[in-house]
């Protein structure tokens, strides 16, 4: 029966104290085995914690980017905001590179819970920027294409290298389809808000564009229904509400749009009370 002997493990003060108390037990193979387990578990927990911290930074910066992007509707030069947002998201991508580094050689699903909130927030931010620019939905492939980080950059001072030297396979972070979906679901909430604020600014074209876009997203999610991850079903419910608000606003604009003074257009949204979801109980 092969067995792990008590290898040289870094001892902390706590261990030393325990050994004193345990006396003879400190030399037992059981205790020796558990010291190895302690190390293994500590290493795993430490990595988890580091990922949580990075993920929190990703969340905060992504959220700030989203707030920044909301200002495009109320500002004359949208391009400045978009450029600034791009800079912010580059910084976020750097952070995601740190996540990728931590996950090198690991099973990313073992730590998924640590970084999924940040990643979803990033998806939300980057897809928001994409929509504002291109009026379309960014694809998962496009997102992942920008999450390629090279390993150690080799700078050849002479500049004589004919081929770029890479230290090995490039480090990447691949957003999972599940995180992508959840991020897009959250995006719809931001789009709904953008819809409201654009109406308040007298823009009566954007609501109709958004309505169509949101409907497409909603239909996509409906198709997935309950076959996807559990969290998607929950977000589908919120998505329906967002879509409902936007559709009602479009209706109001269509029917009464010319009658409403511009500064009161925003009220078009607030008069709608939350109606019960007709499909409640099915989701």
């Amino acid at each position: 029966m092969n067995r792990r002997e008590g290898e040289a493990c870094p001892r902390r003060n706590a261990d030393a104290a325990l050994d004193r108390d345990a006396g003879a037990a400190s030399s037992s193979p059981v205790v020796a085995a558990f010291k190895v387990f302690q190390q293994e578990l500590d290493t795993k927990h430490d990595k988890h914690e580091r990922l949580v911290k990075i993920s929190r930074d990703v969340t905060i910066e992504s959220k700030r980017t989203i707030f920044l992007l909301h200002r495009v509707t109320s500002v004359p030069n949208a391009e400045d905001i978009l450029k600034e947002a791009e800079v912010k998201l580059d910084a976020v991508r750097q952070k995601i590179g740190q996540i990728a580094e931590e996950l090198r050689g690991e099973d990313l699903f073992q730590f998924h819970r640590a970084f999924t909130p940040g990643i979803q927030e990033y998806v939300e931010a980057v897809s928001f920027l994409h929509y504002i620019r291109h009026r379309g939905l960014i694809s998962l492939e496009e997102i992942n294409a920008r999450l390629v980080f090279s390993t150690a950059e080799k700078v050849d001072p002479e500049g004589t290298a004919e081929e770029p030297q890479t230290a090995g396979p490039a480090l990447t972070f691949q957003v999972t389809p599940s995180d992508y979906l959840l991020g897009v679901a959250d995006l719809t909430g931001e789009l709904m808000r953008m819809c409201i604020s654009s109406v308040g600014n007298g823009d009566i074209d954007t609501p109709f564009q958004l309505s169509q876009f949101l409907r497409q997203i909603h239909d996509g999610f409906s198709y997935i229904g309950n076959t996807g991850p559990y969290e998607v079903s929950k977000k589908l419910h919120t998505l329906r509400q967002s879509l409902g608000k936007v559709e009602d606003a479009c209706y109001a604009l269509r029917v009464r749009g010319s009658e409403i003074p511009k500064h009161m257009l925003a009220d078009v949204f607030s008069s709608r009370t939350a109606l019960p979801d007709p499909e409640e109980g099915v989701v």
Partner: protein, 212 residues
């Protein structure tokens, strides 16, 4: 967006069900050691249990094929429960045979799986530890039933064993997760066994049989 990945779940579930059935069968064999008549038959029961583990090895081999090897943790929750039970049953068999704590490598060998993640379908250290804790509860029950069956020496040996296990677990820095909750139950097992030992010693029933 491709959801083909989610269809793995059904295939995995089917194999897990067969594993749960096998685990139940092994448990049935080993449970009988709690009966007075069962004590004498411990070696044959262990042998029978080991035979049944053959089936488990086959089934786990089957399970491995149902998903991409590098996505163990994506589907881990599907088999975590049954794997912990199997770890417990392996640990229990080894205890009954040798009265020592089975090492993780031995459990993996009995189940026909790896210890190290990179080498393939493996036994996560936390699942091994959970299995050990399940066994601790089983042993506290065994201590009680040993006395009923007239064996007054076994409880002392179980007591030494569990105390050593407890020392080991105290070294771990656990998070507030299911493993920690399960570990919290160990102190009740320790207490129960201590009470059995106390009952025996004040009545002078257990002589000097505490040494391994």
């Amino acid at each position: 967006v491709d959801f083909g990945e989610f269809s793995c779940g059904d295939e995995i579930r089917k194999v897990v069900q067969t594993l749960e059935q096998a685990a139940r069968e092994i448990l049935t064999v080993l449970q009988s050691v709690h009966q007075p008549s069962g004590f004498k038959e411990i070696p044959s029961k262990c042998a029978k249990a080991r035979e049944l583990f053959c089936t488990v090895r086959t089934q786990l081999g089957e399970l491995k094929t149902k998903f991409p090897v590098e996505q163990y943790y994506r589907f881990h929750e599907h088999w975590r429960f049954v794997l912990q039970r199997l770890a417990f049953l392996a640990a229990f068999v080894v205890y009954l045979e040798t009265e020592t704590l089975v090492v993780r490598e031995e459990v993996a060998k009995i189940l026909g799986i790896q210890v190290v993640r990179e080498k393939g379908f493996h036994l996560d250290v936390e699942d091994y530890l959970a299995g050990v804790l399940i066994m601790a509860s089983e042993l506290s029950r065994l201590a009680v039933n040993s006395v009923t069956a007239g064996d007054y020496t076994r409880p002392l040996r179980i007591s030494n064993f569990i105390n050593e296990l407890d020392s080991g677990f105290r070294l771990l820095n656990l998070k507030n997760d299911p493993l920690r909750k399960r570990y919290d139950g160990l102190k009740y097992d320790v207490k129960k066994i201590e009470e059995v030992v106390y009952d025996l010693s004040i009545r002078g029933l257990a002589k000097d049989a505490g040494d391994k």
